[in-house]
Symmetry: C2
Subunit: 351 residues, 2 copies
Amino acid sequence: VSTAAVFTTNKFCAPPVQASRERMKSSGGKIVGVIVNSGNANAGTGEEGRRVAEAMCDAAAEAIGCSTEQILVCSTGLIGKTMPLDIILAGTPKLAKKLSRNGGADAAQGIMTTDKITKTALVEEDGFTVGGIAKGCGMISPNMATMLAFITTDAEVEPEQLQKLLTEAVDDSFNALEVDGATSTNDTVVMMASGRRGPADPAKLEQAIRKVCSALALQIARDAEGGSKVVTVRVTGAANDAEAKVAARRISRNPLVKCSWRGGDPYWGRILSEAGASGIAFEPEKSALAYGGVTVSRGGIEITHDKEKVARHMEADEIELELSLGLGSGTGHILSVDLGPGYIRENSRTS
Amino acid sequence: VSTAAVFTTNKFCAPPVQASRERMKSSGGKIVGVIVNSGNANAGTGEEGRRVAEAMCDAAAEAIGCSTEQILVCSTGLIGKTMPLDIILAGTPKLAKKLSRNGGADAAQGIMTTDKITKTALVEEDGFTVGGIAKGCGMISPNMATMLAFITTDAEVEPEQLQKLLTEAVDDSFNALEVDGATSTNDTVVMMASGRRGPADPAKLEQAIRKVCSALALQIARDAEGGSKVVTVRVTGAANDAEAKVAARRISRNPLVKCSWRGGDPYWGRILSEAGASGIAFEPEKSALAYGGVTVSRGGIEITHDKEKVARHMEADEIELELSLGLGSGTGHILSVDLGPGYIRENSRTS
């Protein structure tokens, strides 16, 4: 089956990522299945971890009757713990017998770790369907995070084209998420196209893949550990798109800013301070900052504005910030979350 | 008086920083006094803020009888609030009358904002003394933070030499602090040398300045908002010093890592994951990580170690981490703090 995949950029990437990356190359993007476990990331496990990842592929291949090179493997959970391979080897044949066209919801539940809700998305178009499941709620930042997503379509697409579509969609969705500045060891997005219903309209297919990725990314943001609000930070008027994204990322990552979102406090000075510290071209006197469409500061100082309207906007579950830099036509956005005590509770002990 | 100063690198720097920076240039590093207020940062206040900063210098100059060009001004507190200049103008002549050789402790208290303790340091050597006061407990990260420090010596030093000594000392102390990844709009370190006791041994003077800066930086880390532990993150064996500091900074800034310190959890996988995501040259198989001198992981995997000893070390107020990369001779360190619920309480509302 035509398959595309995007993996973490972390140099301390987990053995299952290494094994899957190699299989994508050796199979030429023709994969039959993915074996996934949650609870143990099989990361920081060295050569033994690599043998475990290979053994998981072998077991899945044997159970469904294909070559081990046609299987990808994903693990999510704690880092640095030995994987209990015997449990996985014993369970895999049983799981294979339960494979079903209707198993999507079970799979979405099976890959959860500290997730509170399952994450699924579906786009149906004339002639084809794109569906996906994902997990992830912490350790989430640029270039993939502790998140896994599996997307399928019945459209016919060649691996190379599928990879291009997926990479672009991931960049604007999963890679525009910012929970806590951490780029995980295990992040993986896999997309498989069965081709059962023949070729699809390319533009419509691209749109459908983007919609599914964005919907899953939004669900991950909503489920962020300790978070209570999803915040879209949009930067416009930057010297170029890359600088816009750098500023949006820096603003989204700062704990002082995240705390002010928690408290519903439109503390615009912190936003401008982060933009000023981000290293991009920035002239305060040309800037303007709006919360929910209400401009709060212009030229680097506060301007008269409807404070009640801003306060109401800050109370909502989803907040919109737009920082206009007035320098060029570069734009970029990041989907972020606030910082609450639950994050600390969740992450101060792992055992 | 020979004076050196280091200011924030933030492009959204506050009007008092702009005014002080210009005065350092126009006076050729010959300054007579510094006027400081706390509670209002006079940042995000635009041209009006600049007039306020100048007026503060004018008032101080008149009160002590010097030129306004010989006065620096520092403000710390909330961003984006109009400074109540009338209060400052009314108070300045009264303050000038209270100037005293014994006023250091009062000054240390006067510059506090959310600080819980005053921060002072003193080094006495044969022939000269270096003393300092500082404030700061949040919004603290590279290249100066919401922190002010004022250091004096009775040694004789030319402004140019003093600037060199101060810049180097600041780089290894205040600029190696990491509380929350925020580079403030107002950070300033000023050092003044009266020359009253003549020239000092250059090496001893350098050492004394470094000691005072490091002592003040440590006090700031101990007083960090919501923090309960001071953590020294040392990276050795990097390709070069710059890469060592990048990795130490990235590790120190990550909230997942900070939470694990909070919980006393030696979660080494998160440390390696941050090193792997920092963009520097990193080969997990050559790395080793020690907590309090006990090596916990080597070659990217956990090794047998004295877990009780590590647990005891993690319970202390001060934790030492050393990540050895095994690639070169580059070293760097960052002084960081853990992340606790108090940080969120302190920063979720500003008004």
